[in-house]
């Protein structure tokens, strides 16, 4: 029982990390039908900028968070302007895939040159002493990751549903052409959704950095896992993202314990293949009918 509680809590912490990155995929997909494949790199940049703020400028962890969020917005907007907008303008189906991947690689290279390729420790804002909960040991930082991720997702949902700007986002997501005819500046909304998605990634970066190590290569594996989560949960469902993240996190940790640590990554990816084969819109996604 104790073991199970421990596996569950670790799995939830890892799963929420995936979910919060996957949430960013969902934001841009809703408005423009495109994804930022450099989402992992946005997370990495956020974490490294945060590290510089805390280490070099001696900023407090909590003060640093808004700075990093602002940086994330600028970075996301940049990606949209350089990589995605031209592809949307010429109605290219796939241009944005290559350009967001390319930008991700460029960001990684830049980060390697600025911060080096070493994995760096990130100072923790909370004590690193574990707390006991139902027989499982949990770090305060892990709780912060889960709570922080949920709060951020709720804030974005609240923004989308209750504010006029958010309604513009939702309108664009539902029918971009109609929204445009109603006077909504849809390309502005799409840029904004990219800024918001990189903001969530950068925030996720500083949230998880004290638990993992920070470094130029940290985005790659996490971005890929988050993408799997987005597919499993469904790109159109916020709820699905969270559930998908938790499923993958728990399955991974449980496989490591009950099967073999050598096969930790396998079941999650098999689940991804099954979802793609039998429910391509994701476990919670609405199937979209594309008329041609």
């Amino acid at each position: 029982m104790e073991m199970f509680a421990q596996i569950l809590s670790s799995g939830i912490a890892v799963g929420m990390i995936y979910a919060v990155i996957a949430f960013g995929f969902q934001l841009t997909f809703a408005t423009s039908g495109t994804l930022n494949f450099g989402q992992g790199e946005a997370l990495m940049l956020g974490a490294l900028v945060g590290l510089t703020c805390v280490d070099t400028f001696g900023m407090n962890y909590w003060v640093m968070i808004p700075v990093v969020c602002l940086f994330g917005m600028l970075q996301g907007g940049f990606v949209e302007l350089i990589g995605v907008r031209p592809a949307i303008k010429i109605k290219s189906e796939f241009g944005w895939i290559m350009s967001t991947i390319a930008l991700g690689i460029i960001f990684k290279n830049v980060a390697e040159n600025i911060w080096g390729r070493d994995a760096l420790p990130f100072p923790s804002p909370l004590p690193m002493e574990p707390m006991s909960f139902l027989g499982a040991n949990i770090l305060p930082m892990e709780i912060l990751v889960v709570v922080g991720a949920l709060v951020m997702m709720l804030l974005v949902e609240f923004f989308n549903r209750k504010t006029i700007y958010g309604k513009a986002v939702v309108a664009t997501a539902n029918d971009r052409d109609a929204a445009g005819l109603m006077g909504i500046n849809t390309s502005m909304v799409i840029t904004f959704s990219y800024a918001l998605s990189s903001l969530t990634a950068a925030f996720a970066g500083v949230l998880i950095a004290p638990l993992t190590l920070t470094g130029a290569t940290m985005g790659g594996a996490l971005g890929l896992k988050a993408f799997a989560v987005a597919i499993i949960g469904g790109l159109s469902s916020g709820m699905g993202i969270i559930v998908g993240g938790l499923i993958l996190g728990i399955v991974e940790t449980a496989t490591g314990f009950y099967v073999s640590t050598g096969y930790k990554d396998v079941p999650g990816l098999i689940l991804l293949l099954l979802v793609l084969a039998y429910k391509p819109s994701g476990l919670f996604g609405k199937s979209a009918i594309k008329k041609v």
């Binding site: 390729r117 690193m128 496989t255 314990f257």
Partner: protein, 396 residues
């Protein structure tokens, strides 16, 4: 036509005239200067630079200067292979020093073997490295680090014989280094009749060790034996602290890497590993001079060499190579090889004084007697047994 012939003649004359003067001896230096094992690679390179600078300042080798050709293999096998070919075919190096990662060494050194150019591995420890070409008439691969077949029995001895911990768990990464080391460890444990209660693995970059540690805990392990590198070792130490399950960590010498000690912080205290060189206290004048010169030239963070073992072994490898080239009077690979296998004068290094370190059949400079146990104490490595402090000063 005429002009071209003139230019050719002038060029030939220029080449001949420089040839009459002292020639540079090009030596390849290969290691990861970036990435997860860079603390070892950069320390090795700096140790090599220091020795080359000293030798050149003292007049070089028979009047010829050492020129280092440094290449970053990024701990990637394919980069190592490219670099080996480049150093052999374009740079035409006389010898190569380096290799931090066992996998890269095994993938790359065959090119030097085929080109009959000696390689001195100064950090990589995989047992197979010096026996990779058992059927070759001549073996061009040498080593100045403590092979895993030396380290693994020391780890097993420390855990089972000295501390009486019979329930051991092995945690090794999935690289060549981790898995070959795990095999050596299992072999060494077998001598005591011990079978590990858990053998777990993980990938480079893994951030959560909960499953691995829970398995070890569930199996009732009393000690964690490790074969991995700094960042993941730190995740193990931090993971144990999180689970509130404190067991001793004993493992290969990589537990002395800065990336382990810095990242694990107080959770790393007590980690025990075999070492060929410990920075402090400097026990011989030679070691003190080496540490002082290193700190002065490279100014490492907090006055602590990121990987003292790599720096010392790198430094010694240059002196051994220089002695061999001096004795051979030539930079031909086979002649250097013959000289290395039969060094007539002792070579004064920082790890020890090398007295005929290599022979035709033995390409390992370090024997089990030259290695001591180190322990992590508050951010630095100390001698586990105080009496070891004077060891290594004696001759082989």
């Amino acid at each position: 036509m005429n002009i071209r012939r003139h230019i050719f003649a002038v060029a030939t004359a220029a080449m001949l005239s420089t040839g009459a003067y002292a020639a540079d001896i090009k030596v390849g230096v290969i290691g990861p200067y970036t990435g997860g094992s860079s603390s070892m690679g950069v320390s090795m390179r700096d140790g090599v630079r220091l020795a080359a600078k000293e030798i050149n300042a003292a007049g070089g080798i028979n009047g010829n200067k050492i020129v280092l050709v440094e290449r970053d293999d990024e701990a990637k096998n394919e980069r190592g292979v490219q670099i080996a070919q480049e150093l052999i075919n374009n740079e035409k190096v006389a010898a190569a020093l380096g290799y931090i990662n066992t996998g890269v060494a095994l993938a790359s050194q065959r090119f030097f073997q085929d080109a009959k150019i000696p390689v001195i591995n100064n950090v990589a420890t995989g047992t197979l490295i010096t026996h990779q070409f058992p059927n070759a008439a001549e073996n061009y691969v040498f080593r100045t680090s403590a092979a895993d077949e030396i380290q693994a029995p020391m780890i097993a001895k420390e855990a089972v014989e000295k501390r009486g911990l019979k329930k051991v768990a092995i945690l090794a990464d999935s690289t060549n280094y981790g898995q070959l080391g795990r095999e050596d460890l299992e072999k060494a444990l077998k001598k005591y009749g011990v079978t590990p209660v858990a053998t777990e693995k993980f990938n480079i970059g893994d951030v959560d060790m909960t499953s691995q540690l829970l398995k070890a805990k569930n199996a009732g392990a009393e000690v964690i034996l490790t074969y991995a590198i700094g960042p993941e070792l730190a995740q193990i130490a931090n993971g144990m602290a999180k689970l509130g399950w404190k067991k001793p960590m004993i493992g290969s010498w990589t537990l002395s890497m800065a990336s382990f000690i810095d990242t694990a912080g107080k959770n790393g205290n007590g980690a025990t590993m075999p070492e060929t060189f410990i920075q402090q206290p400097a026990t011989t004048p030679k070691r003190k001079a080496f540490v002082d010169a290193y700190l002065k030239d490279f100014k490492p963070k907090n006055g602590v060499i990121a990987s003292p073992v790599s720096a010392a072994q790198g430094y010694d490898s240059v002196y051994l190579l220089a002695a061999a080239i001096k004795q051979a009077g030539n930079t031909d690979g086979p002649k250097i090889l013959a000289a290395l296998e039969n060094l007539s004068a002792p070579v004064d290094g920082v790890v020890m004084t090398y007295n005929k370190p290599f022979s035709k059949t033995d390409h390992e400079a370090i024997t089990a007697n030259d290695v001591v146990m180190g322990v992590v104490e508050n951010g630095r490595v100390e001698f586990l047994n105080a009496e070891d402090a004077t060891k290594g000063a004696k001759k082989k």
